[in-house]
């Protein structure tokens, strides 16, 4: 799996610790890692170079000698730089003095123009407007029909080719566009959203067509619809569309995937227009204003806590989750809880993806390739247990164990291992929960605790550990009793 920027920095900064001011060579090394991280995230190479230059200036300027954690500081610089590049001014929609306010949607094939035209219409409705949609994609079979179906869900009318134009044998999008504005005025619609056909930026003929469409409708806003998983090509495409149409903003789509989204950064950098909206799903309501800071973190693979929270809120039954959390910390977490919450967890997407959203997860844990099928095996075992066994795994004797093994298609050893490890983990989480409370109260360094705070001349540094900080693998290891016991042979990876 990809490495986050933190991971990349880990190695370098351990070596550089205590060095004080970083030399030019050190900074170069750090910049190389940043370059790798950004390229992996699909940020365009030219944009990466420009960013490197800016980050370099800031990094050299910073006095990292006083920093407790220079890696963190550089990372902060990078995040800030990205957020600034992605953000800047937010797009404010100003409505035309003479309605309708015209919005033109343009972009490559498959970027999501039609779906997002409907989403935008819904958004405008939410703003108290009266939008109308224009089906000017006469190229793709059933494109207009798709738009009509979506529009029907939100009670927005759709205008498309008139029968006279079509009868002449040429369904011309430019003509459709022309008629649409007049129709909008006639119907008293104050926002007009024009969906166009997807087109290649290098297709001179089609780019000319969209220029003509634009000339016909004189859009107040022209949005380039960009797929979040686009690679290096994003820049060329954006430049071409910008040169032809003069874009006002960008709509970034399919952000509900796990693409890092570097294309957005590239487009913003090169075109200089704000990313206005973010589309995060296939439903019409999966559409909102864009958050630059979230994407910045995502590009760096730094974990997107806000999105994790949203996903968790969607996936987990709030009350259930709270009770489960309480039981977890209290040591009374059962297999039943585990099973329930695992089902919810599955809704959040592949485990590896969810893991990558967690900040502060130790690299060792994240690096382990977790096959979601392993989870299914664990689930299978638990499902073969009776309720009594799930709530009180202590009652599982050899005959129960064999039954469970047979029912789940696993071995008795597997079942034993699961039960033992679960118990140990439960105990550990309980102790962990207790420990953290004690730590916070005591504000003292515990003897032998790893990853603890530093002692500066002014006394122990108060650690800003959040409520949900995860223990390091070493801490976890230290807590498992009897490593040579039932878990023997399983030894944790180095």
């Amino acid at each position: 799996m990809f490495e986050s920027l933190s991971d990349r920095f880990d190695g370098i900064f351990t070596r550089l610790r205590g060095k004080g001011r970083l030399s030019d060579a050190d900074v170069d090394e750090v910049l190389r890692e940043i370059r790798l991280a950004l390229l992996e995230a699909d940020v365009n190479l030219s944009v990466v170079k420009a960013l490197q230059a800016r980050i370099r200036e800031r990094a050299i300027g910073e006095d990292l000698s006083r920093s407790l954690n220079p890696a963190l500081q550089v990372k902060k610089i990078v995040l800030e730089e990205l957020t600034e590049t992605l953000g800047g001014e937010t797009l404010r929609i100003t409505y035309a003095s003479k309605p309708p306010t015209v919005v033109l949607m343009a972009g490559l094939q498959g970027s999501g123009k039609t779906t997002n035209s409907a989403k935008l219409a819904r958004w405008f409705k939410g703003q108290g407007r009266n939008p109308m949609l224009v089906g000017a994609d006469l190229q793709r079979p059933a494109a207009v029909q798709q738009l009509r179906t979506l529009a029907a869900q939100i009670d927005v009318p759709v205008y498309s080719a008139t029968d006279e134009v079509v009868a002449s044998g040429s369904g011309d999008p430019v003509d459709v566009a022309r008629g649409a504005v007049a129709e909008a005025r006639r119907l008293g619609r104050d926002v007009l959203i024009v969906d166009t056909a997807g087109r290649l930026a290098i297709d001179a003929e089609l780019m000319d067509q969209v220029r003509q469409i634009s000339a016909e409708v004189s859009p107040d806003y022209t949005f380039l619809v960009v797929d979040a998983m686009t690679g290096q090509d994003a820049v060329g495409v954006a430049e071409s569309f910008h040169a032809t149409l003069e874009l006002d903003g960008v709509i970034l789509t399919k952000l509900d995937g796990d693409a890092r989204g570097g294309a957005a950064l590239s487009v913003k950098e090169v075109v200089g227009r704000p990313i206005a909206f973010a589309s995060t799903g296939e439903k019409l309501e999966d559409f909102d204003l864009f958050h630059p800071d979230r994407l910045a973190g995502r590009i760096l693979g730094e974990g997107d806590l806000a999105t994790l929270i949203e996903k968790a809120e969607e996936a987990f039954e709030q009350d259930q989750a709270e009770e489960a959390a309480a039981r977890l910390m209290g040591g009374t977490f059962t297999f039943e809880d585990f099973l329930d919450q695992m089902q919810a967890l599955k809704k959040m997407g592949p485990l590896s993806g969810v893991m990558s959203m967690l900040p502060g997860v130790p690299k060792e844990v994240r690096d382990v390739e977790i096959d979601d099928r392993q989870i299914a095996r664990v689930e299978g075992i638990i499902k073969s247990m009776t309720m009594a066994e799930r709530v009180k795994p202590e009652i599982i004797d050899s005959s129960r164990r064999d039954r469970i093994a047979m029912g789940s298609g696993t071995s008795a050893t597997d079942v034993t291992q699961l039960v033992n490890q679960f118990k140990q983990m439960r105990q550990m989480m309980q102790q962990m929960g207790g420990n953290k409370l004690a730590k916070r109260k005591a504000k003292k360094s515990k003897k032998g605790r790893k990853g603890g705070g530093r002692v500066t001349p002014k006394g122990p540094v108060q650690l800003d550990k959040k409520a949900f900080a995860l223990p390091t693998l070493e801490e976890m290891e230290a807590q498992i009793p009897g490593r040579g016991g039932p878990g023997a042979g399983l030894g944790l990876p180095d």
Partner: protein, 407 residues
């Protein structure tokens, strides 16, 4: 695999998620309402997954012949004028007409190489730069690296590729830039070479399943493949397995009409597995040669949708035909995420080949290198446009040569 790591991970995430919710709630200090909209009434086209999942499919045999009309669309705003109504019909007819016109205007199609060459200027800019210097220096390597990265080959595969070339350069004592470029080309071609034929079953029908994320060109590709097959004299059945997207079946219907294939569809929002199963049954009954099964675009991060796809595959396997190809349709503009897509789709359905679409654009599609080297999945077909003829067999030689073309 270490069971304890699995548990630790899951527990950790649960702890975080639950803990996070706790923190949120205590911050707000009040009973939280479910987020607005969670109790929406069911809308047309809203995707819900079947709860029955793994307990074997519930097959609803849908009458393939009857054209199932989408439910009446009611617009409660200002009414559609008769104009608009007619316009919709007219537009559909126009699109059909376009198809016919296209056939009439059949020009000599430019070759694969020509079409790719159109877009190669940026890439060949670097190559040109390398060639302008007769010798090989550090800059040559840097420029080659840049060229490959810009082609979406990816940092790690690029390094690996160039390291291999470095070894070759040393071995063969290469000193000129022209030879260097040839060495790079050779290395790339070697890595991409592979089988491109689409597998058939011993006895018909063969089933080819088309999968991929949203917007890559699955339906259009099926249209092209259908055309190719019918031109060669095969009987084709198309299964409208995208039961989610608005007007998806209509879109496929247009393509079926264009090449004379039979279309099997179900109701919008229905079960894709049953549509495909039914199409297979129909094909078997008629003695058709190939079933081309469309599926809804889905992001590989959506576990429930990927499970649905696995079910589609399983059900298809149970039908009266053989699934001989699962083609991952991949957009050439896709960046590094393409590899993850390939991984997840392979896990769900055992992908046998890639169709690389939209290669007539400026994107180079370099991600196919990783997909080939890490997953062993070959590119079989290439899409070069939106027309029914715009499909070619993947040719590693031509692909790489065109990449380096100097015009």
């Amino acid at each position: 695999m270490e069971l304890v790591i699995v548990i630790a991970t899951v527990v950790a995430i649960l702890a975080v998620a639950a803990g996070v919710l706790l923190v949120r709630r205590s911050d707000r200090g009040e009973v939280l309402e479910p987020p607005p909209g969670t109790t929406r009434p069911r809308q047309v086209g809203v995707r819900e997954t079947a709860a029955d999942e793994l307990d074997g499919p519930e097959i609803e045999v849908v009458d393939p012949i009857s054209v199932v009309l989408p439910p009446e669309i009611v617009i409660t705003g200002p009414e559609l004028t008769a104009e608009e109504e007619a316009a919709n019909i007219a537009a559909a007819e126009a699109a059909e007409l376009d198809g016919e016109l296209e056939a009439l205007l059949e020009q000599e199609r430019p070759s694969f190489r020509d079409r790719l060459s159109r877009a190669r200027s940026a890439f060949s800019g670097y190559v040109g730069s390398v060639l302008s210097r007769t010798g090989i220096d550090d800059e040559s390597w840097d420029e080659l690296e840049e060229a490959l990265i810009r082609a979406d080959v990816g940092m790690a595969p690029t390094q690996e590729l160039l390291d291999a070339v470095r070894a070759t350069v040393k071995e063969r004592g290469i000193t000129t830039s022209v030879e260097l470029i040839e060495a790079v080309k050779d290395e790339m071609k070697a890595r991409l070479a592979g089988p491109v034929s689409l597998a058939r079953a011993d006895s018909p029908p063969s089933i080819w399943l088309f999968v991929g994320v949203n917007g890559v060109g699955k339906t259009t590709t099926i249209g092209k493949v259908g055309r190719r097959l019918t031109d060669a004299g095969d009987t084709v059945v198309m299964a409208a397995g995208d039961t989610f997207r608005a007007a998806a079946a209509e879109q496929l219907e247009t393509w079926a009409d264009r090449c004379g294939a039979q279309l099997v569809r179900g109701t919008e929002g229905g079960d894709p597995s049953s549509v495909i199963f039914d199409a297979i049954a129909s094909a078997a009954a008629k003695g058709a040669d190939v079933v081309l099964a469309d599926t809804a675009g889905r992001l590989h991060t959506k576990t429930n949708l990927m499970e649905e796809l696995s079910k589609v595959r399983r059900v298809a396997d149970k039908g009266d035909g053989t699934v001989t190809e699962v083609l991952l349709v991949l957009d050439a503009t896709t960046g590094q995420n393409g590899l993850q897509q390939a991984r997840q789709f392979t896990e769900a359905t055992e992908v046998t080949g890639v169709v690389l679409t939209k290669l007539d654009g400026s994107a180079k599609g370099g991600i196919v290198f990783s997909i080939r080297s890490e997953l062993g999945i070959p590119v079989k077909l290439v899409g070069l446009g939106e027309g029914a003829e715009d499909l070619v067999d993947f040719d590693a030689e031509q692909f790489v040569d065109a990449l380096f073309d100097q015009n």
